[in-house]
């Protein structure tokens, strides 16, 4: 836990200073998780603010401070889903914009070494994001939470409110689908290299 249970308890009772302390402790982590889930840097802060606004108005429903972190992640996942649903309705593409921004960001790096490092990172980011685009929204969020955010099965159980076995099955299937997409992308890459 990044914050002590007393602070959470005070925030639950309406202490705005305690709430600010919670936001400051978790905002970076939540921003990171949202950035990886939605893939649009310009909207990350908006979605993160929405998460904390929801937290502010629903803190009184939190039963115990021990379940705070999974609960915050649940709010994050829900806000990300809502955002993605809205985006889908608008019919906007997400990852295509991101790649362009990454290229621009990489180009902007002054030092040649830093530029090389940034382009290498951008390459990985693009590869994983392209891979995650191949699986469903549900699989993508589950894989990000487990494989990238590093959440444990126990934490995921609390977030998804399903038992461990059901979660393992979901995770296994999501991983299999990602793996198939990965194999496909590797085969395409090999074919591309051979053609050159």
């Amino acid at each position: 836990m990044r914050i002590d249970p007393e602070t959470i308890e005070r925030a639950r009772k309406g202490d705005d200073v305690a709430f600010s302390a919670i936001v400051q402790a978790y905002r970076k982590r939540i921003l990171g998780a949202i950035a990886r889930i939605i893939g649009r840097p310009e909207d990350v802060e908006d979605v993160a603010q929405e998460v904390f606004v929801r937290l502010y108005f629903s803190l009184d429903q939190l039963r115990t401070p021990e379940v705070f972190e999974p609960w915050l992640y649940r709010l994050t996942v829900n806000a990300a889903y809502d955002y993605l649903r809205k985006q889908r309705r608008r019919g906007e593409s997400r990852m295509a914009d991101l790649s362009e921004q990454q290229i621009v960001a990489a180009d902007a790096v002054a030092s040649r070494d830093a530029a090389w490092e940034e382009s290498r990172r951008a390459g990985y980011r693009e590869q994983v994001q392209a891979l995650l685009q191949e699986v469903s929204e549900e699989d993508r969020i589950l894989l990000i939470l487990k494989e990238v955010e590093g959440l444990s099965l126990k934490e995921l159980e609390k977030i998804y409110r399903v038992n461990e076995n059901a979660l393992k099955v979901r995770l296994f299937r999501a991983r299999q689908r990602a793996l198939r997409a990965f194999e496909k992308s590797q085969a395409a890459r090999r074919a591309g290299t051979a053609a050159c």
Binding site: Y56, F57, R121, Y124, E147, L179
Partner: protein
């Protein structure tokens, strides 16, 4: 290295390649502005709900008073039983009904 291990490795590298972004300077002021805006809209909604409930209650009361005054006290001054008791023709009517059950005098009984 199996494909599964490579996938796990790729996710690990991705995690490192995507550090958590720093929040902008407007993050906290923006958050509090949103909290305040939602509080305000919740208060407005609550006020509207209160006004609606109060209006509905006042209308119900007014309708109840109006319908109570509309009842004509001369129309039903007593209950059905009281009416039957006071009505002299009531029993006669019942007797006449029974009289119809007797056979006509010119018909022979078998």
């Amino acid at each position: 290295m199996s494909e599964e291990d490579r996938l796990a490795e790729l996710f690990r590298i991705y995690r490192e390649a995507c550090p958590d972004p720093e929040p902008g300077p407007d993050f906290m002021p923006g958050l509090w502005a949103k909290v305040e805006a939602r509080r305000r809209s919740a208060r407005t909604l609550w006020r509207w709900t209160e006004a609606f409930v109060a209006t509905a209650m006042a209308l119900t009361l007014a309708l109840a008073v109006y319908s109570f005054r509309q009842v004509d006290p001369g129309l039903h001054p007593f209950s059905y039983v009281e009416g039957a008791e006071n009505d002299e023709n009531f029993e006669t009517f019942a007797y006449e009904e029974l009289a119809h059950l007797e056979p006509p005098p010119n018909q022979e009984l078998r």
